[in-house]
Every structure is written in structure tokens, then in C-alpha cells.
Subunit: 426 residues, 2 copies
Amino acid sequence: MTGNSTHRVVIVGGGFGGLMAAQKLAGSGLDITLIDRRNHHLFQPLLYQVATAALTTSDIAWPIRSLVRGKNDIKTLLGSVAGVDKEARQVILEDGARVPYDSLILATGARHAYFGHDEWEPNAPGLKTLEDATAIRRRLLLAFEQAEREPDEARRKALLTFVIIGAGPTGVELAGTIVELAEASLRGEFRNIRPEEARVVLIEAADRVLLNFVPELSAYALEALRKLGVEVELGHAVTEIDPSGVVYGGKRLETKTVIWAAGVQASPAAKWLGVESDRAGRVKVNPDLTVPGYPDIFVIGDTALALRADGRPVPGVGDAAKQGGKHAAATIKARVAGETPPTFVYKHAGDLATIGKRAAVIDFGWLKLKGFLAWWVWGVAHIYFLIGVKNRLFVSITWLLQLLSGRRSARLITQGDASGRWEHRP
Amino acid sequence: MTGNSTHRVVIVGGGFGGLMAAQKLAGSGLDITLIDRRNHHLFQPLLYQVATAALTTSDIAWPIRSLVRGKNDIKTLLGSVAGVDKEARQVILEDGARVPYDSLILATGARHAYFGHDEWEPNAPGLKTLEDATAIRRRLLLAFEQAEREPDEARRKALLTFVIIGAGPTGVELAGTIVELAEASLRGEFRNIRPEEARVVLIEAADRVLLNFVPELSAYALEALRKLGVEVELGHAVTEIDPSGVVYGGKRLETKTVIWAAGVQASPAAKWLGVESDRAGRVKVNPDLTVPGYPDIFVIGDTALALRADGRPVPGVGDAAKQGGKHAAATIKARVAGETPPTFVYKHAGDLATIGKRAAVIDFGWLKLKGFLAWWVWGVAHIYFLIGVKNRLFVSITWLLQLLSGRRSARLITQGDASGRWEHRP
């Protein structure tokens, strides 16, 4: 917003990509503005642990402005973007304010998508924000509470049936953790129901779980899920979701709790820019992550469709967003310095997913791991990626106590109707 | 709900009083049902620390059913009470379910009250539940975010003015902590404002703060507050609260954030019972905490008006509720055993309040403390009263880190409008 000649970079989104870009640009003599509609950076890979009452919200979220505290060339703004004026080079906020830029980085992520069935959302919430996580936690815990008070057996069974749609990492991790919530954490605390008898059903349209892994690890994960007690239904697309159940493969399953982990839709960055997007709403970007025709605009992370040299898309994972942020920052710095910008080459670090607290699958390409050792590697890696000593310490202790006792510390039903009614439901 | 001849005790409310009653009754061969509309017990004395982003929700709240996990004679129900059928001896829940009792303990607490000005609530929220705390946290943090983006100086000043109404322990603790939030935690993180210039105004109708303490400690607390930078306005009742300010003593103060800590109203237990209550809605109980004419119904804690031998009321503090719960449990056990019930004699343990993180006042009657030593005693006492090793450890570490660095770990704006608009406000 200053009128001087310093090159102004505006970054929209304080997730993995945007935050990385801001950190890499800091100290380069540029005028950096980081805009997010949330005040916090979120470590999404552990969001399912908040949804299942294992971790608390502040374990995996940090105020963005505290993360760039010492970097005086970064200005953090809480605001929602409504559009981009590409000609005037201004980001337009919802309240009408305009933030001018010389370079723009859009790193606004994705939300869950219902493939044309938006009417399913109230009955099958997805998991992308802290509020999503506490809402799912409320539903899970309320289902057990209501089952305890339900005299009708069929309705009690429906309350104790939990359906997860989509067997990617989030779906697999949720399914495993819900079984453990019921079996280890809630066992022995109810008088009319046995929480360990809860059914957890994981429905996947493809013919295997964890499609992004090699088939061998998918097979192991399937076996580990079934051993935990998860009912895995492969090769069935869900065709109906209503307040009392789901239909898949022609079968109806009565359930009061459905979680959606089956697909994502990019943020409306393509609409703000008025440019081409794919079916998932992702902006089709050049190999250097800029928007065709607008070399001053970068789109990175889940909201971009970037193709690798072999034609495969860069995957929608946190590490790809970070690499994108790093690349955009380096390109802007090189341009300002009059140097040749680097070429973007995405390096896939690997895929990780846990199945409960005893097993995981890891595919680093050069190294494939499964089982309890993989679970430890996963745990250590995730603690490493958390920010700050305190969060690492608290999450480590929490996981250790859970491993030993099965108890969960964040089993709070909040923001819901205290009478036990479903929010959003008739 | 069983039809056998075991004496059935129903306890409504899982706060300090109800939980104590349940724990004392457990193992006595009775059939105990504990009903709460929340699934968690809350350590209310530290709620102001959640509201000011120092602690996170799960630090001070525990699932009620996990607290009575091993006690198989206690059944925990999540439900809202709608009434009591005194003749049929049944508690009526909101969904129409009826829970029969032989003895009933109502321990349903209090909410904040606006002395006939309920229209003030949207502009001056109170602090009694976890949701209240996260809502106040959101308002406090949003005010700084909005001030950072506000070009108009007068409006920026109003955004950076925080008003607390009522200088009891909650009001005093909030005022001191908000100053520290601004001065120690947010300092250096903004570019357009200086958070440490925020004004914190504490308004009290009486002529001193902390009325429940001896005047000497009130005077010390006043001095400590002023030293911290809190503007204390004594002897002024607030006469108007609207979305843009408050009026007290004929003066208008422009502010966007008002917190109400000036009065409470008992839960509607008197209405459920159809019995006499005082102006604050408290049920006037016999010296043994039973309801006149209904020796099988006890009302304890903040929702009861119990008089001590000298005619002074038992105060509305957590320890009084615990003593009430203990007494009701002992009385029921004695009656079932055919023994003489004990007499209730309230013993006042003392009063504690902190002023920021460097000072506190403590009045144990036989011992009066103030200053940094009192703050340590307060801290140790509160950690002792938390439940579980993990919570004690986490709160200790959090406080220690805050004492050293001033940083706060739970600075999350959640459940609010991401665009930065006020919820509840036009």
C-alpha cells in the first residue's frame, strides 16, 4: 500500500505454500504482504487427530503473524479476498479494500467437493479447517452420547455406525482412529452401550485403498484396517446420503454419522483471475507456476494444476505447496535482481499414512516401509514438522500417553446444541 | 431408570458441586445418575485464561464420563433438564424423557446476568462456558486485527479500547491479562498499530475492586492494576452499552469490545421446582441444603441461596459448591443407612485473585498475602486443583513459558466470520 518503488509482493493464503513463500522472500528488500481470512496457519496432516479428540486445536495451529514476528518486511492482514484486478494489479478484499502488488502469489488451497452433490454437505461434513475438525469431533462424540440414551435398538445401531467416504490418507486415518476412539478411549465409560461394538465403514469407489501408494502398500493397509475392525467396502461409489443413511452399490446403510473424505475442489482463484481451470477448479499454470499471460501472478499448491515434465500433475500435498512457494519466492527475487529465474522441478518426497496407532505405510520411492516401524517414522516425522518446541513437546507427550493408556484428552463437545440434537439436521 | 429397590440418586450438573456429590456417593450401593447438558466438567476459575489465549480449552475441561470411568454405579447422561415433577419424583428432560429419583441434587450453576438489560448481552458477552471463552478470545484478537487494517484514527482507537464491567475476581483477572496479551504477546507483530497502546478500562459500580476481599487487599489490587496500565473507574454504574461504546457516570467511551463480569443469575432450578427464589434466581434452601417441603431435593452451589448461622449467605464460589455436594452426598448416605445426617457448616477456605502474571492477592482469613509470592501460591494452588497429571504438566509448562517469553499459544480466531466482521453485530 506504500507508494514507493520497493517491489511489492502480495501473498494470499498462509498455508504451507504461502507461508513458505513469505519466509523465503523475507529479508530481500521487498515489501511483502501476507493475506489470509484466518489468523492461523494450520498443520492439516494432523487435522484428523483433532477431529477424533486426540489433539487439541492449538497443538496444530499457530497465529500467522507470530510465525513472521521478527520479519519486519512482512505485513500480515486478516482479510477475505473477493477478486483480483489483473490490469490495475490489485487484490480486492471483501470489504472493498484494494491491496496493490507488483508480484502476486495465490496459495489459497482447496475445500472438499461433493461432485455435484452439494446437498450432501450437511450430512457428510469434510475435514479442512479447525472448525471442520471440532464439528466432526462433536458429531462423533454426540453419537455415542445419544446411543447411550436411545432405547430403540435399530436407532442405537445407526448411531453407532460411522461411515467414512473415500479411502485416501485422510479417510484411512480417520477410520483407524475412530475405531481406537471407541475401543480404547470410550470403552468402560458407558452403561447402556458398548462403544467397542461401534461399526466403522470405509467406502471407496476405487478397487483399493490409498490409490497414491503402490499396490503392495495398499494391500497391506487394507489388511491392517480390517484387522483393526474397519469394514472396508471397495469398488462402490456412494449414490445417496441423507440424514439417516447412505446408499452405495445398491445397498442402504443406516447411519447418523458420515464423514466426507472423497474429493476436493480448489479455492476460487481461477474465478478471481478469470482464467481457465480444470474440473476441480484448479488454475492451469505454466511450468514456472505463473498464470498464462500474467507472468506477475503465481498460483501454487492445491489451487494450481501444474504439470511435471512427464505430463503427470504435481500432487495436492503440503510438500508440493512448500516447493511451489519456494520456487515463486526464488523467481521473484531473481527477477527483481535481474537474474535468470530458476526452473521449477517438483521432487516427490514420499507418501505417508497411518492406520491406527500401531501401523503405517510409507513410500519414499527408494524406501517402502509398513507396520509399527513405519508408524514410529511417521510419528517422528510429523513431530519434526510441527512448529515450536512447545507444540512438539505437547504432541509427543500426548501421543505417548495415548499409546500407553488409550486415553484421549480433547474429548470436548463444544459449539453444539447442548440438548444433544444434531446441528444442521432436521 | 431401573425398577428395583436400590435408592436412586439423580444429580443434575457436573460442575464442582455435582461432580463432588457423585464421587462421594459412588461405592455406597446406590444407583446414581449424573445428568449434564455438556459432556465436560469445566474448571471455571481459569476460564479467563482461555478467553485471553493463554490456555487451550482441553487444559481446563474433562469429559464428565471419563472422570467417573471406574465407578460403575454412576451412569452419565448428556441431556438438558426441562423440569422436575416433584410429586412423581422424576426429572423431565427436554426431549420428554423422564428420569425417576428417590433423592435429587440440583447443581446447575449460574449464568451472567444483566440486571434487566438483556439487550446488552450481544455487545457485552459474559464468561461462564468454553464457548463464552473462545467467543471472547475471538473478539479480543479480532479487534487487534481490525485495528491493523483501520485507516480512521478514531475507529482504530475504539478498536484498541477494551472495557470490562465489574471488578470482582473475573473482571480483575481479565483486565490484567488483556494488558499482558497486548504488551507481551502481540507487541512487535503488527505494522500499523502498536498493540501495547491498547487501553484497558475496568468499570466498577462499587467504590473498590474485589469487594469480597478486605479493603487493604482491594487497595493493593487497585494499585497493582494501575501499575500494569489498567484504567480503573470506581463508583460508576454502566448505564448504556451499544455496538460502538458504553456510557458510565454520564461519560461515553467509544469501544468495540466490552466484556461483562458484573453479575450472575442462577440457573432456572427454582422454576423447575416451582419454589421461591431470590432476585438472582437462587433457590432459598434450608440449612441442610434441601428445598423447604421437599427433603428429598437438594440444591447446591451457585443456584442455591443458603444462609450461614450468622445470616450471611454462602458465597457463590467453587469450594462452596464442593462442600454442598459433599454434604448432600453424606446426608443421602446417612438417611439410606438410617443414621443421623450431618449438619452443614460452610467453611470459607479463602479468596484468591491474580493481577497479571506478577501479582495476586490471597485472603485465607488467618493469612493474607499479596504480590509475587501470592502469585506463586495462586499458581501452585490452581495447578493442584486441575485434574490429571497431563493437564497439570501442560498448564505448568505453558505458564512457565509465558512467564519467560510472554508468548501465548492459543491465539486462535475460530468459529467467527473469517472476513473479520463482528458476529452478533450489525
